[in-house]
Amino acid sequence: MFLNIWNYIRGYVTIEASGFSVERFINMAAHRGVYIWDVHPSGAKISMKMSVNGFKRLKGCTKKTKCKMRIVKKSGLPFLMYKYRKRRVFALGILLFVVALYLLSSFIWVVEISGNERITTNAIISFCEEIGLKPGAFKYTLDTKKMTNEFMEAFPDLSWLAIEVKGTKAKISVVETIEAPKMIDKTTPCDIVASSDGLITDIVVTSGTTLVKPRDVVKKGDVLVSGMLTIMDGEEIKGYRYTHAEAEVFAKVTEEITLTEDLRYTRKDYTGKTKKRYAVSIVKNKFNIISTGVNYRYYDKIIRTKPLNLGGDFALPVSIETAEYKEYKPVMIERKFDDAKALLTQKLDRMLEIKLEDDVFSISEREVGFEEINGKAVLNAAITVQMRIDEKAEPRAAIPGQDNIEH
């Protein structure tokens, strides 16, 4: 196979030899060192292939062996070049294309970051831009080792970083350190206060002096567990010591939620007529493809951007933006009160679902009332939840026994 390529590059001819003793002709060719291949007889003639130089050398043989040589086909690069010898600019164009392609793919056009969870992608990207790893950077002048070191210095949360340049894409893979457990400062004195009003149901105290018990009603900010310990000497109070109070206090908290929904609203009725306008952006410059304007009075504009790439990792700094204009007619709709009620109830349910996920342990009561005010449907709900209301705060000198908490 490689022999064929080599022969093609050098150029070869296919000839037909006919005459009295073609065998002697072949013998002479072989003895003169001419390489012949693909010999097969076709009737009285024999066709064969030989190199161009060989052909020239054999011109003299025909006379000796009384054979006639006829060129059937000329193939090879030299013949091709001779045929297109007038089309020099074309050849130049091909060369320029190859050079341009190579040049363009020597820059980085896309930076991709993977593996980061705590560190934001934006933080990494802006650091990349600072050190020079951004679209448009020349691939061969980048020192990835130095950049890796700079990264590790700037982000102490990283345990491993790798920068890989593949095609025109720079892939940054990141592995973060395992987060150290949050150290609770056990030395700073503090109190536990209520984060909202409520009725206490359970208290679990790890350290500190409890000032409340279950069935107490507390207000937001009341001290529930004090970090102040009184040191007794027999019956006398010797002094006070401030500690870091820790406790979990569960209480029933009532929250009021109000939701409104308009009874009259405008609905978008899409007429089905759409128009598309295209724009091409090359390295952040946008060129609109000229066409007639959009003459809808009311419309939704949806813009989709698609970057072009030469397959896989070779992203180009060119992207096509498709803006789709969808016409609609605004229609005033009057919603029935019952429908509005159903919608509001749905909204409420969703809100409560989220709350349950966060912090709250159970919903014990739920009271819902509806009214119509000024053309809007209003939902008033009082939700009683059981949740933790403990919060750490600066210590206050609350003397046990004297407080304003209802028992």
């Binding site: 072949i26 072989a30 003169r32 012949i36 291949w37 693909d38 010999v39 024999i46």
Partner: protein, 73 residues
């Protein structure tokens, strides 16, 4: 030194019944579709078969391909 060079004898290599190569020959006597005769230091070698083609020929080696029926020395 190999025997065929010392004694000027041809080295014939046959692969199955489809390919044959003859090294160290003197010349071609006859070449047709079904009979090729090659002159060697050991006499005229006759190869008979069908659709015989000369794949390559140089001054040292000749490659024959096709359906080879018999080889006579």
């Amino acid at each position: 030194m190999p025997k065929e060079i010392l004694l000027d004898l041809p080295l014939i290599t046959i692969v199955g019944s489809k390919e044959m190569s003859i090294e160290n020959f003197k010349g071609i006597v006859e070449y047709t579709d079904d009979c090729i005769r090659v002159n060697t230091g050991a006499g005229v070698l006759k190869v008979q078969g069908r659709k015989l083609l000369l794949k390559q020929i140089t001054s040292e080696i000749i490659n024959i391909s096709g359906v080879i029926k018999s080889v006579e020395l």
